[in-house]
Amino acid sequence: MFDQVEQYHRAASVAEALRLLQTGKGRARVVAGCTDFALQSDDSVRILIDITRAGLSYLRSKDGWLSIGATTTMADLEESSAVRNLAGGILARAAASCGSVQIRNVATIGGNMAHGSPAADLAPPLVALDAVMVVVSPAGRQRIGVGDYLAKTKAPNALLAEIRIPDGPSGKRCGWSFQKLGRTAVDISLVSAAAGLEVDARGKVKWARIALGAVAPMAMRADETEKLITGRILDRGLLDEAGLAVRREIGPISDQRASADYRREMSGVLVRRALQECASQSGWPL
């Protein structure tokens, strides 16, 4: 099936992976779990550089940041107490929704982001959490905000080495949620949403973060909807408004799984559900 592949390397370090990438002259591809790559019919790839032994499988908390090595698997994320305790566990929940057990045992956070699918399950939580991508190239290490990383064309001689998540906003009356709609428990998402907010003692929204997946060319923040609800009293009416507002902000497509109209409709439903869960977690149940 991959007869065109001429070399398979298990890079022992990031430096070795970069060197192999250089010598590959555009025909080399960095791979890890291969759950996306194995589905592509990209027959231009001659050299595979497996980075799962390059020392990039780790989770470290330090100085207000959680640093996650690019080859950390979905299963690792699901099980990590640091990830489960971060922002209501939205990243752990997204990882747990990313396909079957067999997929999650090998699929990696780096692969999920670098592959750049609009429906990447980890993208909405990482966007909502203002994650920073650490990209390594022969020129050095570069930190790129997740939004820019998703929007930019990937440099051919660089690789994603680490994902860093700041502690981010928290507070006494804080809540987070991850919601995903798929055809089955293991299918790719039709729509996914990650949200977080904080309310004050009277139920006024102090800040809100809303990110959506699979309804635009890449995962996106719903800035307008966030603005709409910030400073307002969180009640059922506001949830309805947010659900309507988000439908105007997104740009879904029709494909074999769902129509654009359906995705738009469901985006409203998921954002409403997400905000409702945030509300209940923040001690302001609706």
């Binding site: 099936m1 991959f2 007869d3 065109q4 592949v5 001429e6 070399q7 398979y8 298990r10 791979v31 779990g33 291969c34 759950t35 194995a38 589905l39 595979l48 497996d50 799962t52 299963a75 396909g99 079957s100 057990v101 067999q102 997929i103 045992n105 090998v106 089955t184 428990a185 293991v186």
Partner: protein
């Protein structure tokens, strides 16, 4: 095609095979006679090609053989000892959980990985595991019953209506 050597342990036996760099683990295992590893969808959906890699269930159809260098691989042929079946295999027979049998090796290996980590796995965990194994004959209830019977303590499937909540 430049060939490379693959060293790995399959069902407790050390192997050294010549492989092509683009070979998938599924291709190599079947070529070497492990026919219990089934070629199904080849897109990571059906789970028929499931093997255990260092104790974890993986789809061998999406894994390059080179990735398994130095790994411990278990296929369905490695369960039981030739005369005596593994308790999960016995349970699948006792509960009538095998129909055509194509999905069975993957299901049993997936269940083994689950019970090795969570010997007391309940129905939710068992069903989560079965989500990665497609059966096109009949369904999952008998298989779930079989796995729960091997869980410690043995459990029964909760009452369900068709299409009921998991």
């Amino acid at each position: 095609m430049k060939s490379l050597e693959l060293h790995l342990t399959v069902n407790g036996e050390e192997k050294c095979w010549a492989i092509a760099p683009g070979d998938l683990l599924l291709d190599v295992l079947r070529r070497e006679g492990y026919y219990g590893v089934k070629r199904g969808c080849e897109t990571g959906e059906c789970g028929a090609c499931t093997v255990l890699l260092n104790g974890k269930a993986v789809n061998s159809c999406m894994m390059f053989a080179g990735h398994a260098e130095g790994a411990q691989v278990m296929t369905i042929e490695g369960l039981g000892n030739g005369t005596k079946l593994h308790p999960l295999q016995e349970a699948f027979l006792d509960h009538g959980a095998v129909q055509c049998g194509f999905c069975t090796p993957g299901m049993i290996l997936g269940a083994k990985a689950l019970l090795d980590r969570h010997p007391d796995a309940g129905e939710n965990l068992v069903r989560e595991t079965m989500a990665g194994h497609l059966c096109r004959c009949t369904g999952y209830r008998k298989a779930v019953e079989a796995v729960l019977a091997v869980s410690t303590p043995p459990r029964k499937v909760r009452k369900q209506t068709a299409g009921g909540k998991r």
